[in-house]
Amino acid sequence: MHSPTTFRPPTAAAGLQRLIPRSDRSLAYTLLAPAILTLLVILLVPLAYNLWLSTYQYNLLRPRQTAFTGLGNYIDILTNPAHLNALWITVAFTAFAVLAQTLIGTALALLLNIDFPGNHLVRTLVLMPMLISEVVAALSWRLIFHTEFGLLNALLGVVGIGPKVWLGEDLSFVSVLVVEIWQHTPFVMLIILAGLQTIPNELIEASRVDGASRWQRFRFVVLPLLVPIILLALVFRTMFTLRVFTPVWVLTSGGPADSTLVIGIDIYRTAFRYYDLGAAAALSIILLVVTLIITLAYMRLLRREALS
């Protein structure tokens, strides 16, 4: 048997009370609400729309003739050698670029962590490529790579090496890679340099007292402490490089013979040259999944590092 209750209409005061946070936790939620709402609007809504779009046959020129295809767009992409090739080229491009950026970036950071006269000037100079707009940088490199009038072939000519077709079928992949590495290594360097400065000097002093050589100090003291930072730089650079577009578009437009066709260009062509928004959405979801898989693998490594 339950006691009879009388219904009481909510008063204005009660409504207000509900709004006022009663504990610390609800205060936190209240304060987080605007940020979460913003994220929902600018992140989840477009993502959901894209997901929805990827299950439709939707051409911008015929917006009224849309048709639900389910996984049709995905099956088309995953059975089309041209798209798979683009995916493969993107992964290979990212692997080479990120590896080189990390190695060079770490080396530069170690170098610039040493105090020497003019250190700050050198740091600023090394950061320059990162500060230049991608289009401007790529256009400048297009001039440098020019077979007949470019700086690179002119310099090689001085040391007796004949001209090379930098953006031809043999070298275009490497040339675009060089531009990508050149432009984004400073970012890796900056992160690692910041990481290096957080390593307590006492540890290094102690290892020195214990008789560790320069290499041993790096290998057993500095590097283990740097790993989480390097992984962080890797996550960022991998995510950004997987969607590379500008240098490839400016330098080769995906050519010669689609040999530098990265997925970013594939998506752009599909969406804005063919207006096939359904297929483009599916391609971008596939790119997102690939990025997520790689990022999650990094995160797992990062967590293991943190635990050890």
């Binding site: 911008l60 020019h146 009038f149 001209p163 953006l167 437009s253 050519g255 013979a257």
Partner: protein, 406 residues
């Protein structure tokens, strides 16, 4: 207190300025030469009529994309629609107001026809040119050659002139639009076609198409073009010719003015234009067949100022403005009278040759998914030029892909 009053006044001014300001027409155009030309016309138009035309410049690809998005969304933000010949017309047709009541008798008929769809006139041509053969007169004279009339003569001249750091022929072969439009005059000039007349199937994988493609690839393979041409865009043709490393180029006629300008070129005054592109006599042709393309302006269906937009288009396609921008801005005129105008002939002595070359003009097929066809052709031609595929293999693969796309 004073600052607050100032802010309030500024806000009030900003709010009222909109409706009070003179009406403004919006037009998106491709940045660069076209952008500068149309900007100067907009200034001229404002001086004469008091109507503002805001000329917004973007790179070519972005103009296409942004303009179409505005038109599909019926935003009314675009009043004047810029159309790159037959490439953009099919996709823009549903968003244009017909201009059938406009008098076009001053304009070159083949150029006006570029902007007709199902018999309706949708835009006026304002900047159109064709692909012409530009050659170094001094080098040909020295070698005792006349401008080549047939493809056989063209190859012979290219072979003779390739020496001492000069290449016989300078093409743009970077994968993309450049490569395809470079190849088309070779295809047409061998009697080939891109699509069947019903536009439902590829028509380039024929004996004529193969002959043209093998000839085209042969020029590259045999070293008659600069090695870097595989990465050239149209602008690189201008550079190579201006720097004196090229003897002949088949390119957009207005580039002649850049190559021949004393300010920009090392070979100014040494260039000329052939009246026709080379042809293949075995294909039963009497002249080469060029490609025309360029810009036309139409009125957006969703425009809030259609009458003013139409007025601007008629202004810029009129004889006097066509002459002014041809002389001042190197614009490729669409009015026939300009080609006979003494002032224009002084700036562009080869204009008469251009006019004859344009008479045999033809354009790309009017299909909605031309860009897809173009990308397929670009990829396969790029493979043929790089030696990754034989011309036959490239054409067969392209045919399969194009038929699937159509």
């Amino acid at each position: 207190m004073f600052a607050r009053a100032l802010v309030a006044a500024a806000a009030l001014l900003a709010l009222t300025a909109g409706p009070l300001a003179a009406q403004t027409l919006n037009l998106l155009v491709s940045a660069g030469g076209s952008g500068r030309t149309f900007e100067s016309s907009a200034n001229q138009f404002r001086e004469q009529t008091g109507i503002n035309v805001r000329v917004i410049q973007y790179p070519y690809a972005e103009v296409r994309e942004k303009q179409l998005l505005e038109l599909v969304g019926q935003t009314g933000n675009i009043d004047i629609v810029s159309i790159d010949g037959s490439i953009w017309l099919p996709e823009l047709t549903p968003f244009l107001k017909p201009l059938d009541d406009v008098n076009t008798s001053n304009l070159i008929p083949s150029m006006v026809d570029l902007f007709r769809s199902d018999g309706k006139l949708l835009a006026l041509p304002v900047r159109i040119a064709g692909w012409v053969l530009i050659y170094r007169k001094d080098l040909l004279d020295q070698a005792g050659l006349t401008p080549p009339k047939t493809w056989a003569e063209f190859r012979a001249a290219a072979t003779t002139l390739t020496k001492d750091g000069v290449y016989g022929f300078v093409p743009a072969l970077k994968q993309g639009n450049y490569l395809v439009v470079q190849w088309i005059p070779f295809l047409f000039g061998h009697g080939g076609a891109i699509l069947t007349p019903d536009k439902k199937h590829a028509a380039f994988n024929t004996p004529a198409g193969l002959k043209a493609t093998e000839y085209f690839v042969g020029l590259v393979k045999d070293g008659l073009v600069p090695p870097g041409a595989k990465a050239y865009e149209q602008s690189d043709i201008i550079t190579a010719m201006s720097q004196g490393i090229g003897a002949m180029a088949i390119t957009y006629s207005p580039y002649y003015l850049n190559m021949n300008s004393a300010k920009e070129s090392k070979v100014a005054g040494k260039l000329d234009i052939a009246p026709f592109l080379p042809y293949d006599p075995d294909a039963g042709l009497k002249t080469g067949r060029t490609l025309i393309s360029g810009w036309g302006f139409g009125v957006a269906d969703s425009s809030r100022h259609p009458d003013e937009a139409k007025q601007f288009i008629q202004f810029i396609a009129g004889d006097s403005e066509q002459k002014r921008i041809a002389v001042d801005n190197n614009n490729a005129p669409t009015s026939a009278a300009v080609y006979r105008d003494p002032d224009y002939l002084k700036a562009f002595p080869a204009a008469a040759s251009v006019l004859t070359a344009l008479e045999s003009a033809e354009d790309r097929p009017l299909i909605e998914n031309w860009t897809e066809v173009e990308d397929i052709l670009a990829r396969e031609l790029s493979a043929a030029i790089s030696g990754l595929k034989t011309p036959q293999q490239a054409l067969s693969d392209a045919e399969k892909a194009v038929n699937a796309a159509l």
